[in-house]
Symmetry: C2
Subunit: 340 residues, 2 copies
DNA sequence: CTGTTAGCGCCTTCAG
DNA sequence: CTGAAGGCGCTAACAG
């Protein structure tokens, strides 16, 4: 059963050093020796102890995945893609959730739980404050942010600005002029913050079309279904004249649609709704959206992280474009009819 | 920065053994000593190396989470719950995905990747063959199955039989008599298989109501949105007279609804649809469903696994009941009208 | 209650 | 191309 490296060495008639080199594919081992060692190891069912290997080498072959949730679309998809990419390179994925709840403040990220436990860190959609980032950087491992970001840190993200602009332009092209925006927490003004950039895209498109943007046109809430619903209720309460809404995520958009329906209004006849993500279930409500490949983004982020760990490659941000998927939640506005 | 235990020991004026005991909360350390050690450790930023600790103790404080996907509702929720529970007990969650794809056969579970790397295993919705189970058992760690199962292994699951029966009875109570069933792979006849048990529930309810169940009333496909859609298309093609369908999962049910709509039919006027899960987005299509708390199930499974690792408690299966959530996807059948 | 002493199992120089 | 030997940093008896 639990054979050690020395047993393999003994049976193969070589030293433990050679076994180690042979099994890890290091150079300076003759083919014949390597082959013999391999077969003995297989026969004995030998697998190196990760703990012992880590202790001796300093490498853990493990990546820490930090995320607020795994149950939301973006996070689940990124995590799935990342795990797959890591797995194919022999790395493991250690998952850490830091729920962002409505009631309590988020638990702070404690770098100690990652200390000497991972070779790299993937932060998935988790907005960290500077102190947390500094603490993680202090761990001395490569780190990549996916779908959130921090000045000075490598990021895999969407072209949020263009995405926000394009989504808004789609509504403008359809003839809308009073276009609301619902998004995440308003206090998030990090430059790399997706919500902030998407909002800027909305502002730019509105401005370019000569449309005025009163503060009442935007509502900030939580980045999920209920958040979208709540925000939409508020938006329609304060601006019954909006004919279209750009939601910063598909889940929010779907919540918005529910809110519209609750009020006895129809999508898109009374209110058009567009989201961002390309959520698998968007089709259920005919959601028009700006789609992007979250699984692929996760895989790319993981691959990039591994090259950084390997020390090869000059790392650079990865920016994904989104693709407009037209469905039935957007359409031309009804002429001159307010639904107040 | 990276201080070792001996440095803490030196500064605190005790031995490394005492530092170890003090920091891990073991008995036989005076309060004053423990306090001093703690403060020194904090001051020095000392955290024990997991590798070294594992190597010396044989414990990894890590659980392996095996799952086909993380992006589907049940899996994401269970994983999230499990991670949270593990985290609160100081355990880490190592994620391993084994995608079940339409094209390729699933990659087999190789116990070697888990060897000496985890203290326990949580299998989430992943049907394993006997050889794989045996290999995992051979690792010598406690193992729990969530939402899938194998004879002789501890399981956390739904009362699938009752759930299937109740869902079907709901349709029968509404007046339906030709009730189809769409579910997962037909070759899965494991006794503990949720699809099989849910199907049995359907059969029992039909039988109890004196309704005949022709083979054409059931279609088996993939356990996701597209699988549900495909299955529903096929079902309606071969049985245009069905007035209601019981889908084995909400994602399948939502796919079924899409298929119904594609055919120009309406839910529930032409066809009623009920699913299982209580998916967060079920509300979008007014999906009637048998809801269950997947996050809680994941947390409970993790907690149970930890008690097994600790050696306390006599482990027993955990069986969750589901709750009928009536929404608009189910209603009485139209009288005597076939929609062929 | 605390210290001493062996390892835990592997990797990695350094020789040869 | 291969072997010898010293850690990696901690835990777990066993004394005291």
């Amino acid at each position: 059963m639990a054979h050690g490296i020395d047993e393999v060495a003994r049976v193969a008639g070589v030293s433990t050093a050679t076994v180690s080199r042979a099994l890890r594919g290091l150079p300076n081992v003759s083919d014949s020796t390597r082959e013999r060692v391999r077969s003995v190891a297989t026969q004995l069912g030998y697998v190196a102890s990760p703990s012992a290997a880590s202790l001796a080498s300093g490498r853990t072959m493990t990546i820490g995945l930090l995320t607020p949730w795994v149950k939301h679309w973006f996070f689940a998809n990124v995590i799935e893609g990342a795990e797959r990419a890591l797995q194919s390179e022999g790395f493991g994925a250690l998952l850490y959730t830091f729920e962002i709840s409505r009631n309590a403040p988020r638990r702070r990220v404690d770098p100690d739980v990652l200390r000497r436990r991972v070779d790299g860190i993937l932060v998935v959609g988790l907005p960290l404050d500077p102190a947390e980032v500094a603490a993680l950087v202090g761990l001395g491992h490569p780190m990549i942010f996916v779908g959130s970001g921090v000045e000075g840190q490598l990021t895999v993200r969407l072209d949020d600005l263009v995405t926000g602009r394009t989504a808004t332009e789609h509504l403008i092209d359809l003839g809308h002029r009073r276009i609301g925006h619902i998004s995440g927490a308003p206090d998030d003004v990090t430059p790399f913050s997706p919500p902030a950039a998407r909002r800027r895209g909305w502002l730019e498109a509105m401005g370019a079309a000569g449309l005025s943007v009163e503060p009442t046109l935007e509502v900030h809430g939580h980045f999920d279904l209920d958040g979208g619903r709540d925000s939409m209720r508020q938006l329609l309460a304060q601006r019954p004249d909006v004919t279209a809404v750009f939601a910063a995520s598909d889940e929010m958009a779907m919540g918005a649609i529910l809110a519209v329906r609750e009020l006895g209004l129809r999508v898109p006849q009374d209110v058009s709704v567009i989201g961002i993500d390309g959520h698998d279930l968007g089709e259920l409500v005919g959601l028009t959206t700006m789609a992007h490949p979250a699984v692929e983004e996760g895989a790319a982020a993981a691959a990039l992280l591994l090259t950084m760990i390997a020390g090869t490659s000059a790392p650079a941000d990865l920016v994904y474009q989104t693709r407009l998927v037209r469905r039935s939640s957007t359409g031309p506005p009804r002429e001159g009819v307010a639904h107040a």
